[in-house]
């Protein structure tokens, strides 16, 4: 079989891998039956043959098992869900992905690296940004933008809180309970598929229907998706009483087994479930961070200490253009924690998930109306994954019509970097189309390229309102031109906050769009995810969207491949968007859009007296965001867009989006949720900064020693006696306005040196002494 990138794959028993000429091989550890196998020799042979060895592993099991790295794997990945993140009927969960040193520069996605700031202190930042989509575009290592940061942080805190010993105890308890379960069942003549395990056993030759009926009666779900087999996986929540119930379910009443007696037996005689060769020998989590926060007081304060270093919406407006950092209301967030949403397994029988089904159906109906499309595929976990899912649907649609050769994706210059990266992943070829001076798609260029490439045209990816923050007048024509030459229109819905209730992609004439539910529909950004990138589609594409192999609620597209592991992606955060739409209603969602326009135009008009505004549409209006052009100022004063962004930190603001979609600019998106008071505070800061730039321009402050160049300022700066030699006061540095003085946010490090960090790539925890 073959995937969208043209990679061929074979499904084989592990030991047969050596018989083929391969570029890579993927192993599961434990396998689907729960068996754990020492692959050391096999991996060595494969690696000798230059095969890249990849392992999918279970993070909890690794506390007890020999690590895949020690067996010789090149790459290991898996889910970190079971480190303290609820199942949530899907995958609002972080994955881990690690590789041997030699692969680190080709790894996809976000990597945090250690660098230093201008005071020479250790400071952290995302490393190797130059290989990411916003720079490398279709040559990027991945299309991932929004990821699963909040959940990665939860998993990391889980490890910090429990420490290595605590985690080992949890893993050992899970393994012991599994041993007890297995020993009891085997004593009663039940046969197992596997003779080694961490937490999973698979029973064979059993009456699946009878066992499952008893299980369901006891409100228990077992794995029953294969003939004659019953799979049982234990976890951190399993207690001894549960094992007694499982004995009853599997063996019926009167089995006479006693958990305590079985345990005593295992303690006395030892267990073979983890063969000695597979026992982990090396110590894990030896860094002191994992060994000092075991009291709850210490843990609470560690979390708070880190929180204090970060600017979030609970401090001030985050006016990141293209990101829609609107209110995530407490009432919308509440249901996410409820056990009825949090503790559902994504593959549980559908009868048990009637609430989720209803929620998803109602949300889909809302979104169908809002997008003007015919159907919605909820599954994708982010905007970029939605792009991928949408492009695959387009590809399959063309294939279904005998047009498999259509593989050109037109993308305007101004597109977000995820667009070309997704097109590349979907196996398409990107052709860039030009924008005119006003920032609009150059229709002549588009027409020329579409007609020239008509035979191989697959689609266009276009954002509306454009990434330049204006409602392009010609959007209908763009759709018509592409359709005329047999292409499909993918309308990137990142800017839906300027469309909801006023217009819609379906109405405009597009065929498929993702929605960033974590922008327009109030799911919080989580510091970088979870998000949801559900896609809306026209009828003709509906049969071609992502389906799922396990959960098939009877749709035409069920047999299609999935783009995410769970059928409804990060399902547990869907209540947020449902609540948002339900509470606001028809009137509220429209008024939100209109107020987003008002806020953006208000900021634009206020700032236009001080900074040039790059693009405007009809009547000199902008859509829900505006771009101010800093290039002339840079030319005149030497002050860079980076200086201004960092100086905003001194004023207690997150910078707007910098240098996207045009280098040397800031893109400001206030959203409807910011009050006039906050907008005015931001405007005051921007005007005050303009005054500071004027002083540099006038030569009053040197280009390389002024509050902009030295921003952000830290407490360490103003405590430093050397500060006295600066041409500006401490007051100017950290309390530039009264509003700042009244509510100061202190950046904890000075400006960070990216180049140093990338050259000396270090991605592990730094010695504690560096923090002290």
């Amino acid at each position: 079989m073959q995937n969208a990138l043209g990679l061929k794959w074979l499904l084989l028993p592990a030991n047969e891998a050596v018989n083929y000429e391969l570029f890579g091989a993927l192993f599961q550890y434990s396998n689907r039956y729960g068996q754990i196998t020492d692959y050391s020799e096999l991996f060595a042979t494969l690696r000798d043959n230059k095969v890249v060895v990849t392992v999918a592993a279970d993070i909890m099991s690794l506390l007890l098992l020999k690590s895949p790295g020690a067996m010789g794997a090149d790459v290991v990945f898996g889910s970190a869900q079971r480190f303290g993140v609820p199942m949530g009927y899907g995958e609002s969960h972080a994955a881990f992905f690690v590789a041997r040193d030699e692969h680190k520069r080709s790894m996809p996605g976000r990597i945090i690296g250690v660098s230093k700031d201008t005071r020479g202190n250790k400071a952290l930042r995302m490393a190797m940004q130059t290989r990411e989509q916003h720079i490398r575009r279709e040559k990027a290592n991945s299309n991932i933008c929004t990821a699963q940061i909040l959940l990665a942080n939860m998993a990391s805190f889980y490890a910090v809180f429990h420490d290595a010993q605590g985690l080992k105890t949890i893993a050992s308890r899970i393994n012991r309970l599994t041993d007890i379960l297995a020993a009891g069942l085997q004593a009663k003549g039940v046969n197992l598929v596997n003779n080694t395990w961490f937490d999973t056993i698979t029973l064979k030759d059993v009456d699946v229907a009878a066992i499952n009926a008893r299980a369901l009666a006891a409100q228990i779900n077992l794995r029953v998706d294969a003939d004659g087999l019953v799979g049982i996986s234990l976890d951190e929540t399993t207690i001894r009483e549960d094992i007694a119930v499982l004995f009853e379910v599997i063996l019926g009443a009167g089995h006479g087994l006693d958990v305590a007696a079985l345990d005593a037996d295992i303690v006395a005689n030892g267990s073979q479930s983890i063969p000695q060769a597979l026992e982990r020998q090396d110590a894990v989590l030896t860094h002191p961070t994992f060994n000092r926060y075991q009291s709850e007081t210490e843990m609470m304060r560690y979390i708070k200490r880190l929180e204090n270093k970060d600017l979030a919406l609970n401090h001030s407006m985050i006016s990141l253009g293209s990101c829609t950092m609107k209110l995530n209301a407490a009432v919308e967030m509440l249901p996410v924690s409820w056990p009825e949403f949090a503790n559902m397994h994504p593959f549980c029988p559908l009868e048990q998930a009637q609430g989720y089904t209803k929620l998803i159906n109602e949300l889909s109906e809302f979104l169908v109306k809002i997008t003007g499309y015919d159907a919605v595929c909820i599954q994708p976990n982010s905007g970029a994954q939605g792009e991928y899912a949408g492009l695959l649907a387009i590809k399959k649609y063309h294939e279904s019509r005998g047009d498999a050769h259509r593989n050109i994706c037109l993308i305007p210059q101004s597109a977000h970097g995820t667009n070309p990266a997704s097109a590349q992943l979907a196996g398409m070829k990107v052709v860039v189309t030009a924008c005119d001076k006003q920032g609009n798609v150059d229709l002549e260029d588009l027409r020329a390229k579409a007609s020239e490439l008509a035979d191989s045209l697959s689609c266009i990816m276009i954002t509306y309102p454009s990434t330049h923050g204006v409602y392009e007048e010609s959007i209908r024509e763009v759709c018509e031109i592409v359709h005329q030459y047999g292409g499909q229109v993918y309308l990137d819905g990142a800017n839906m906050n300027a469309q909801v209730g006023l217009t819609s992609p379906g109405f405009i004439g597009a065929d498929v769009s993702h929605l960033n539910l974590h922008k327009t529909f109030a799911i919080p950004h989580g510091g970088g995810g979870s998000g949801m990138g559900s896609i809306g589609i026209k009828k003709h594409l509906a049969p071609f969207v992502a389906g799922h192999v396990v959960v098939k609620p009877g749709r035409e597209s069920d047999h299609n491949g999935a783009v995410s592991a769970a059928p409804y992606g990060s399902a547990s955060i869907l209540p947020i968007s449902w609540m948002y739409i339900k509470l606001l209603g028809t009137k509220g969602i429209k008024q939100s859009t209109q107020t987003a326009l008002l806020n953006a135009n208000y900021i634009m008009k206020k700032l236009s007296a001080h900074y040039p505004v790059l693009f405007t549409g009809r009547n000199d209006r902008v859509a829900h965001e505006c771009i101010i052009d800093l290039r002339p100022l840079k030319e005149a004063s030497g002050v860079t867009e980076m200086d201004i962004a960092k100086r905003l930190n001194d004023y207690g603001f997150h910078a707007p989006t910098m240098s996207f979609p045009v280098a040397g600019t800031l893109m400001i998106e206030p959203t409807e949720s910011e009050s006039k008071v906050e907008l005015d505070r931001f405007i005051e800061a921007m005007i005050s900064i303009r005054g500071e730039i004027a002083k540099v321009e006038a030569g009053e402050w040197p280009v390389d020693n002024n509050p902009l160049h030295n921003a952000p300022h830290t407490l360490a700066d103003i405590m430093d006696t050397e500060f006295d030699s600066r041409p500006y006061s401490r007051e100017v540095a950290v309390f530039p306005t009264a509003a700042v003085k009244a509510n100061k946010f202190w950046p904890t490090v000075n400006r960070i040196d990216d180049v140093y960090g990338d050259r000396n790539l270090m991605c592990s925890c730094v010695p504690l002494s560096d923090y002290e």
Binding site: F96, A159, D310, V331, G355, C765
Partner: protein, 141 residues
């Protein structure tokens, strides 16, 4: 005594005014400043007429927070939480309550953006670095 009707006193659109930042008075000020009479007028000046929807969507009435919670409570109750032994990559967990309350349910953590501005994001960058350490430690050679 107030002349408002009971329906008005029930404040069905209260959440709407909580979600939207500027209040009516502020909106009017801002409209005056940008040169528009109303939100609809601003919309007409801004959005190309040919793509404006001919009529409003039909999503339903706005509702209050208590009402919204009651609706979704009813939906949640239709989920049946069974004990899961399915495995397949998804497992029951005990979220440490200190993390549930101080991270998962804390806007200081959940409303931040991707740490593109590292000088004001050292907290979550450290947390993610810890995550990388956990990942490397558990898998290393």
């Amino acid at each position: 005594m107030t002349k408002q009707t009971l329906t008005q006193l029930e404040q069905h659109e209260l959440f709407l005014t909580r979600h939207i930042g500027p209040n009516a008075e502020q909106q009017q000020d801002m409209l005056n400043f940008v040169g528009a009479e109303s939100l609809d007028d601003l919309t007409a000046q801004t959005v190309p007429g040919k793509i404006l929807l001919p009529q409003d969507l039909t999503i339903g009435d706005s509702c209050g927070e208590a009402e919204g919670i009651a609706y979704i409570r009813n939906i949640a109750d239709q989920n049946k939480v069974f004990k899961s032994y399915i495995g397949m990559g998804y497992y029951g967990v005990q979220v440490p309550n200190v993390i549930l309350r101080n991270v998962f349910e804390n806007p200081g953590w959940y409303t931040a953006y991707t740490p593109y501005q590292p000088e004001i994001a050292q907290g979550r960058l450290e947390a993610i670095l810890n995550f990388q350490q956990v990942s490397m430690d558990s898998n290393r050679s």
